[in-house]
Amino acid sequence: MDVRNFTYMVYGYSAAWLIIVGFVFLLVSRSRKIDGELKRLKSLVEDRESEPR
């Protein structure tokens, strides 16, 4: 394989995959945060509804 400009090609592919994988990690962490918030709010609503008025 010709190695002319090979390094920059590797930089290009690495950058592309870093951006995509970084976004996937961002989505996963955001999902966890949102799910945690949903659980917290659901239990809060249940607690409020079970309180005697």
Partner: protein, 226 residues
């Protein structure tokens, strides 16, 4: 059901992309003038096409929201825009790395590059605008109008290398002129399909998050009411 679909699309896209990488790195020879750097085309162009398709879906969903005021349409629009931004960034970064070798510079204010950067910045504005508006209907309307307005830049990006009397450093179109070597076609098409599948999986994940967010908003309203 949705989780299975996301997993299937994501896995299929990744497997196809691994095949593309294998084919591009080991199956194709280096180009006479550019050496190995030309191989960037197999991610640079498919990323741009995937992004434009997603912006297109976002525009249709935005029009749908303006007509029907259905918040699922608004969620679809924002999900598509966010994922499209990722692919636009991939396109800009890989293009810049290619330009560093072929042109000797990272960036030039050429019509194609500038209009693509404008597209990225306009939709970045769209994403930054949304959290600033608290009322969901107002947020949806303003976002939809901005999404439609920003899409006007996309034909300019596409036509930038096709317009007469416009001098551009960017390579001329090869897809429709048949300038692509026959051995490039399969990895190019498969790369495009792979990125579309990965993009769809990411949009579905974002849609799920948006639906959870709407549930959170309604629970918050319920809490205030109790």
């Amino acid at each position: 059901m949705r989780e299975k679909l996301i997993l299937t699309l994501g896995s299929l896209g990744t497997v196809l992309m691994l095949w593309v990488i294998y084919r591009v790195f080991l199956g194709l020879p280096a180009e006479i003038l550019q050496g190995d750097i030309y191989r960037i085309i197999f991610i640079h162009v498919p990323a741009a096409i995937t992004a434009y398709c997603l912006y297109g879906v976002a525009v249709i969903a935005s029009v749908g929201f303006l007509i029907k005021r259905n918040f699922v349409m608004d969620s679809l629009a924002v999900s598509c825009v966010e994922v499209a931004q990722v692919f636009t960034l991939v396109n800009l970064v890989t293009g810049s790395i290619w330009g560093r070798i072929i042109w000797g510079i990272w960036w030039t204010w050429d019509l194609r590059l500038t209009s693509q950067l404008m597209c990225f910045l306009l939709y970045l504005g769209y994403l930054l605008l949304r959290p600033a508006v608290s009322d969901p209907t107002q947020r949806g309307v303003m976002s939809a109008i901005l999404a439609i307005f920003a899409a006007a830049d996309i034909p300019l990006v596409v036509m930038a290398i096709r317009l007469k009397n416009v001098r551009t450093q960017h390579p001329q179109p090869v897809l429709e002129t048949g300038g692509l070597d026959p051995s490039f076609v399969a990895p190019f098409v498969v790369s495009m399909v792979a990125l579309m599948l990965i993009g769809t999986a990411l949009v579905l994940i974002r849609l799920q998050q948006e639906s959870t967010r709407r549930e959170i908003d309604s629970l918050r309203r319920e809490l205030h009411a109790v």
